[in-house]
Amino acid sequence: MTSTPVIDVDHLNLSYGDFHAVKDLSFQVASGELYALLGTNGAGKTSTLETIEGHRTATSGTVRVFGQSPRDRRAVRPRMGIMLQESGFSPDLTVRESVRLIGKLSGRRDRAERVLSIVDLTHKATTKVSQLSGGEKRRLDFATAVYGNPELIFLDEPTTGLDIQSRDALWDAVDKLREDGSTIVLTTHYLEEAQQRADRIGLMHQGTFHQEGTVAELTRTLPAVIRFSLPAPAPALPLQATREAGGTFLIETHSLQKDLHTLLGWADANAMELRQLEAGPTRLDDVFRSIGSA
């Protein structure tokens, strides 16, 4: 990383009493990057995120955002938008009043109507927050986070509770922000979202990084998978396979293309139909499962 990082975490430790939530964590996020912080439950993601946001004080180590302490709200917060994990809006205020309040406090210039239209909440502008559904509250949260197109945006589980259209709209908005140069820090339980969108991923387990890198780097060490079933009887397979429950065969390989070619050649030569054939690279889900079994 050559340019000055937007976020610089150096040997971060965070404890709650005797519980060591974050252990010696170091990473950087570059300008314009989408960095996903993922992990198992209780891995320390939210603690890390909240320390970077300036909500918590590090027990030891340093966190710099735009080269400054994130605790210096006046210096740092006008440049960042935060979508919290839980909404935190006053139930007695309307949607528009909530956006205007947080927008005005953000110090950035924008129009409430613009950000509400991004998340398709224009028709709910005069509705009280207490009358919104869970998904609508998440969209409102996103609207306040992107008010004024901040340089750095924290998205803490942004699509939880959203229907597929709202999810797509949200990611379209994120893509647009990235085109405009915003840096995004994301946490999510939807691994496919991180796999599709993150430039780099920090995979946390028990307070520290289990792995960090691009999706390709994270999945490189685990085998790809070929899965299929065969009509009985069948001649001996050309590759080492295991038989799963339900009679399907599973081949784990580090040479997906070559082994798939071998298998298809074998099926052709033996006039065998490979039913329910699936072949694909390692997914983040598999990396996650490998943490549990490590």
């Binding site: 917060r77 809006f89 006053s90 007695d92």
Partner: protein, 239 residues
């Protein structure tokens, strides 16, 4: 701070429970004292009515509403949301407490003007203003400290009782019995010296310099309350 205060004002007027407890109830109780001022003047003095009215508004309108508001805003993570912005902590708290403080001051002022009109003028208006302001500051400080011990708006119905009932009781005790006996105790109790200050301001007969010394115990309570608040106050619910 003003944006937060404006949003808080909107919320007060949209929440019927807060509206009743912070606006109507203190005014109704105070109206009763003013309406029956002859009886209470015979029992104690006009200064007593002024003091008990002031504490009724400050205890129910200001103190209880402050605690309930802060507990509620913490519980629904609104405080955390506000802290996600560049606003500093002092600005956030000031914005949250400003509307209810202004409402309480307006209520006390209006009620005391009515009392003065129907029953008789205070001896020293400036001293009365000082007494009201010091009491308001003390109750705000106690509100902040109590909010630190209060987990939810429902919990506030219990945690606010000792101070709200206590200060009104102390005000009545000092207002009716005076401070000739148990002087030190009465002055050191929260609201005791403030009540005596109001009595002196309204009834007269005590040198101003001597009355001003009564500010000290009230200011000490402010210091104690702020010290407690800085230790007890939480911005987020307990996990």
């Amino acid at each position: 701070m003003l944006s937060i205060a404006l949003s808080e004002l909107i919320q007060i007027f949209r929440n019927r429970l807060v509206l009743v407890t912070s606006l109507f109830m203190p005014v109704a109780v105070s109206a009763f004292f003013v309406y029956r001022h002859e009886i209470f003047t015979e029992l104690a003095s006009l200064g007593y009515i002024a003091a008990v009215v002031m504490f009724t508004v400050c205890a129910f309108g200001l103190y209880t509403t402050t605690v309930t508001t802060l507990a509620s805003r913490r519980q629904n993570l609104f405080l955390k949301r506000l802290r996600s912005t560049p606003a500093d902590d002092a600005g956030i708290l000031s914005g949250l407490m400003l509307p209810v403080t202004v409402i309480a001051l307006a209520q006390v002022t209006a009620i005391l003007i009515v009392l003065a009109t129907v029953a008789g003028q205070p001896d020293n208006v400036l001293l009365l203003v000082v007494a009201v302001l010091s009491t308001v500051i003390m109750m705000l400080g106690l509100g902040l400290a109590t909010a630190g011990l209060t987990n939810s708006p429902e919990h506030a119905q219990v945690t606010t009782l000792p101070v709200s009932i206590g200060t009104i009781a102390i005000s009545s005790w000092v207002g009716i019995s005076g401070t000739e006996k148990l002087t030190l105790l009465k002055r050191l109790l929260p609201g005791g010296s403030a009540t005596e200050l109001v009595l002196n301001a309204w009834n007269g007969g005590v040198p101003v310099a001597e009355s001003l010394l009564l500010l000290l115990p009230t200011l000490c309570w402010v210091v104690v309350a702020i010290a407690l608040a800085s230790r007890l106050f939480r911005w987020e619910p307990r996990r």
